[in-house]
Every structure is written in structure tokens, then in C-alpha cells.
């Protein structure tokens, strides 16, 4: 029953946001709708693994079917920038942890909490270290929600601005 309500709220939220022309509306609206049900019901449903496996495999199919030899050739020069970008983000995560220590609001295991990705591995590392696994998990959930809520609208705003500037 909770799943039906969650999916219905997700679909309604997505369609409403798209109708209102919210950037990335279908996804963002679904996120807000399902979060509302999750908060209202006291505990959100857990997505069964087979369902998430089908979903993420479908995402892989959507990407994989775009692969052509020409596209692969275009992708090769992106390897070094991708590594450089990842290293820079990891360094930024460490810097953010130091900043949180500096202003006195760092959670336990702050460098793991502010790391840009690999949620499950970082929670395991915090658990192995013996502190902060809950905070690490929560920081990462907030990071994902903030990225989803800010980046797509920001990208579309920037794109609109550059089109106007041309």
C-alpha cells in the first residue's frame, strides 16, 4: 500500500512539475512527491533489489545504445579530464572537511562524510574506523539530494543565458 502511494505521489509530482516547466521537472517532482509520502508515513519504503536492478540496468541500456564507434573515438580524449575532475573533487571534499572542523560543525569521520561519492564503501570504512557511520550516510544522502535539486536547474539556467548571449 505504501509503495502504491509512493509511486502515485512520484508520478503526480513529476507530471505536475513538468506541467509547470520546472527544469528536470519529471525527476525533481517525483523526488519531492515520494519524499512527501515517505515523511508523512513515518518511514519510506525500501526499493526491492530486483526493482532497482531493472531500473539501473534500463539506465545502462539507455546509455549503452548510444555507443557507436564514432562516439567512442570522441570519448577517448575525455579520459584525462575525467580523472583530473575526480581528483579535484576528492581534494575539494577534504578541504570542505577541514573547513567544517575549522568552524566547529564537523561530524565524526568528516573526511569520509564530505567525500564526493561511493556511499556504501564510505559507510563501511566509517564502521570499520569505529565512528560516524550514521553521519557519513546522512551527509551523502543530503549531497545527492542537493546535487539533484540544484545542478539540473543550474545547467538549464546557464544554457538559457548562453543562448541569449549568442
Amino acid at each position: 500500500m505504501l509503495w502504491i502511494a509512493t509511486i502515485a505521489a512520484g508520478v503526480a509530482g513529476g507530471l505536475l512539475a513538468r506541467r509547470l516547466h520546472v527544469p528536470g521537472g519529471l525527476l525533481l517532482g517525483a523526488m519531492v512527491g515520494s519524499a512527501a509520502v515517505s515523511l508523512g508515513s513515518g518511514a519510506g519504503p525500501t526499493m526491492p533489489f530486483p526493482l532497482s536492478a531493472v531500473l539501473f540496468t534500463t539506465v545502462g541500456v539507455m546509455i549503452g545504445t548510444l555507443v557507436t564507434r564514432d562516439r567512442l573515438r570522441q570519448l577517448a580524449p575525455m579520459a584525462v579530464p575525467a580523472v583530473a575532475s575526480a581528483v579535484a573533487l576528492i581534494v575539494a571534499g577534504v578541504a570542505v572537511a577541514w573547513l567544517l572542523y575549522g568552524i566547529g560543525i564537523a561530524p565524526p569521520a568528516a573526511v569520509l562524510a564530505t567525500s564526493p561519492g561511493a556511499l556504501v564503501a564510505l559507510i563501511s570504512a566509517a564502521a570499520e574506523h569505529g565512528e560516524g557511520e550514521t553521519e557519513v550516510a546522512l551527509f551523502h544522502v543530503v549531497r545527492i539530494v542537493v546535487v539533484v535539486a540544484t545542478v539540473p536547474p543550474l545547467v538549464r539556467l546557464l544554457r538559457r543565458g548562453s543562448v541569449r548571449g549568442d
Binding site: G10, V11, G14, G24, L26, A30, M31, V32, A35, G42, A43, G44, P45, T46, S52, A53, L55, F56, T57, T58, V59, G60, V61, M62, I63, G64, T65, L66, V67, R71, L72, L75, P81, V83, A84, A86, A88, L89, I90, A92, G93, V96, V111, L112, T114, G117, A125, H129, L138, F139, V142, R143, I144, V147, V148, T150, V151, P152, L154, V155
Partner: protein, 174 residues
């Protein structure tokens, strides 16, 4: 499920083609997950589907209806993580978590700007250099037609390098 259309002129993929793609994607996802690769489901299925499609000379496109369903479903997977428990436990640390997240998003923006300044034109730009949400941003890049392969590549490399850096990060803990 996948009623595909070619983005350009060319032969339409048949049901048999989609069956082969789906089977290869499923096998790739299962193998990558079994190997414990980060983001294994997306990464493995991309490689599996890509291997089948690569033999053809044109990209295929998944039906817009399937894409819409995936967008809503991915949104729901993020939304259900927001529970009263998470809000309650966050309490005192919420400010720090939001601040850290915004600073990381800003870092991603700065990296995208530096790459542009260096003459590296990354399709998908900020979505590729963002600090998280591999599946979500890849799906949005697909929806926008803005460098989904590049976005997937950047995020996969990010997750792999974070995992590799964990021993170093542990050394930095007080």
C-alpha cells in the same frame, strides 16, 4: 518494452535486436555487480548494451515513454531516502551537511569552468563534474541530449577514484 527509433535515417531496430541488447545489458550488470564494481548495474549494463550496439553503425534511441518512466522511478529512489529518521538524526548536523554539499557543487562548477578555460569542451559540462548522483544526472543528460556518455564516464571515474582513495582518507582522520 524498448520500442526504439533511430535518431537518424536507417534501419529500425527489431524486437530481436532489443532482446539481444536487454540480455547483454542484464549479463553485464550481473557480472559487474558480482565483481563489486561501484555503480556496477549502470556500468555493466552500459558495457553490455554498448557491445551489442557497437556492431551497428548508428546509435539507437529508447522510447520517450520508457525514458519518462525511468526519470520518475529514479526520482522516487532518491525521494524515499528522505525519512523522518534521516531528518531527525540530521538535526544538529543538517547545516554542515547542506553547507558541505553546496561547497562540493560549487567545486564541480569551478572544475567545469577550469576545463572550459583550458579548452576542454566536456559535453554535459557541470553535470559531468558534479559531485554525485551518477544515475540521476546521466538520465537527465540523456533527456537533454547533452553528453550522456561523457557524464557517465566522469561519474564512474569519480566513484572508482573515491573508492581507491579511502585508505588515504582514513589516514587523515583524527
Amino acid at each position: 518494452m524498448f520500442v526504439g527509433t533511430e535518431p537518424a535515417a536507417g534501419p529500425q531496430p527489431r524486437v530481436l535486436d532489443w532482446s539481444a541488447v536487454t540480455a547483454a545489458a542484464g549479463a553485464g550488470a550481473a557480472l559487474a555487480s558480482a565483481m563489486g564494481l561501484p555503480g556496477g548495474l549502470v556500468f555493466g549494463s552500459t558495457i553490455g548494451a554498448g557491445a551489442v550496439v557497437l556492431g551497428r553503425h548508428r546509435a539507437w534511441q529508447v522510447s520517450p515513454r520508457v525514458r519518462d518512466v525511468v526519470l520518475v522511478a529514479v526520482g522516487v529512489t532518491v525521494g524515499i531516502r528522505v525519512t523522518p529518521d534521516t531528518i531527525g538524526v540530521l538535526g544538529a548536523t543538517l547545516g554542515g551537511a547542506v553547507l558541505a554539499s553546496l561547497l562540493l557543487v560549487a567545486a564541480g562548477w569551478a572544475i567545469a569552468a577550469v576545463l572550459t578555460r583550458l579548452g576542454v569542451d566536456v559535453p554535459g559540462g557541470l553535470m559531468a563534474t558534479s559531485p554525485g548522483a551518477l544515475e540521476v544526472l546521466t538520465v537527465i543528460a540523456l533527456e537533454d541530449g547533452e553528453g550522456p556518455l561523457e557524464v557517465a564516464l566522469f561519474h564512474t571515474v569519480r566513484v572508482v577514484l573515491v573508492m581507491v582513495s579511502i585508505p588515504l582518507l582514513l589516514l587523515l582522520l583524527p
